[in-house]
Symmetry: C2
Subunit: 331 residues, 2 copies
Amino acid sequence: MREKSLIGRIRRQARPGTAVITGIGDDCAVLRLPAGHELLVTTDFTLEDVHFRREWHSPEVVGRRCLTRGLSDIAAMGGEPRAAFLSLALDRETPQKWVNRFLAGLLESADEFRVPLAGGDTAQSAAGIQADIVLVGSVPKGKAVLRSGARPGDGIYVTGELGGSAAALARLREAKVRAADYERHFRPTARVEVGQWLRRRGLASAMIDISDGLSTDLGHICEESGVGAALEAGAIPRAVVGRPAKQVSLDLAMHGGEDYELLFTVSPKLRGRLNGVRRLVKDLPITKIGRMTADRNIVLDVDGRREEMPHGFEHFAAGPDLAAGLKTRPT
Amino acid sequence: MREKSLIGRIRRQARPGTAVITGIGDDCAVLRLPAGHELLVTTDFTLEDVHFRREWHSPEVVGRRCLTRGLSDIAAMGGEPRAAFLSLALDRETPQKWVNRFLAGLLESADEFRVPLAGGDTAQSAAGIQADIVLVGSVPKGKAVLRSGARPGDGIYVTGELGGSAAALARLREAKVRAADYERHFRPTARVEVGQWLRRRGLASAMIDISDGLSTDLGHICEESGVGAALEAGAIPRAVVGRPAKQVSLDLAMHGGEDYELLFTVSPKLRGRLNGVRRLVKDLPITKIGRMTADRNIVLDVDGRREEMPHGFEHFAAGPDLAAGLKTRPT
């Protein structure tokens, strides 16, 4: 009866939120959104040996990262997360304790963001652990911040620091690491509050979360907006991680994925209004790293030397998984 | 660039529906529901070697069955399907042709029900094919037909015939079969129209789709409604399948899953109004198979001999997968 106890555990821990009228226990969950709101939906896989490894990631970390992937997509629209749905397939050998700890990590993060787990599916997998997280959110009608609104001249901004998550993965291939030395990898937080703040004030002309890496995700904004970008290498905030702590390479900051920071563009006229965001999340840097251009490519200025991004938008199709796949317009 | 062509294919084939404002191509899909409607959400796995086998099921069949699982959950709430989201993980060896044919089957069914594919996720799997389908639907506020509304004395009704899908699986273990001889297994259709009709007329006090089998799914209604049921074995419509065609056993009709018919309860006062549904879908039988009781168990009358259902509600946790898992209240 392992399944029963798993489901019982989920039902007990998942607190109903105001959006959820009927949660776990019927054919569908029934949700109510605020009047005048549009619905946001995103789905993200978390697959064993693709997105995590049991020997590298504690179950709590896998659970937290699983939910963060979805929350971060809601954040990137400037939305309010309303409910989460978890599809979870386990092989026969998955210990009950692993499942309990995975759920504990996921639900701890759900509690932080006041997102109820409102349903999902469970199945026995043929091999390994497979999770698919669905986040449902909402945003006032017509106010979702899309990838397509960037204009030449807009400043390019990023929250936090980049490359810290990829640095953890690189190090894990060689040695054990302490989770505390790579916080952004093992305990990422979706920038929901910042995303909403930018949306409410109408500051971001375009926004995306950095899940595939700055170069790829900026490429998505360029692609969808029909513009290009000029980045200042020296301005890109590089994470300081490891033991002894040191700054990650420019390469990791440019191309490393899974930082779940926000990348957004702001018209120069509105730039002054950005200051308020710095009071929103304590110690969270918001850094201007370049500006959008009318050219349809991405140029990186490294100490006055201009490098065109290798392969331009072709970079889209690379990466360790195809997570951004369905979100990418084919060229 | 296989991924790119896959995504391109999905984007080209998936026609935007009225509900979809921003589909594939951003961090989230943005949907708009009719004013005064509540949101329905359901997620269902389709895993290789758990829910299908490549040697038994053509890619088109897998795609169709994948979408039908979600549509059928929307049908069981009396809802209108609004958008589908597909998370699809493929191993390196999955042929492009398999993917194309899978999508063709899924999108053919999506077209029938006018449901746009509005997003999802793609990933490389460690082994095998894994799909997770998310269906978003809507229903006028407060009108969703739940599992919890059945009352003692209500008649128990079922659409179509039962056991045909499970009979195909039983036969497939022994021999090749012709899909045309087991239509309900290879080409199931969600009873969306019937579900909506019953909801609009306020006829169904409780409803569920038969995905896990009559005994299990009726058990869910009993459980959630706090009542019992008395079934007439002779009244249960048993599918006629195979070559030569013959009627399935009572056991398959009682316990076989994946027929995706609707099981619903109707107050005796409203019984006469059911006739209209017979004109709705040509040749679709609607059969009364018993009535709800005040006892909290399920009793089957076989030629005047009363059999209590083995294990009562314990039957929930059995079955070839745990698909109903998150939908089941723990006892």
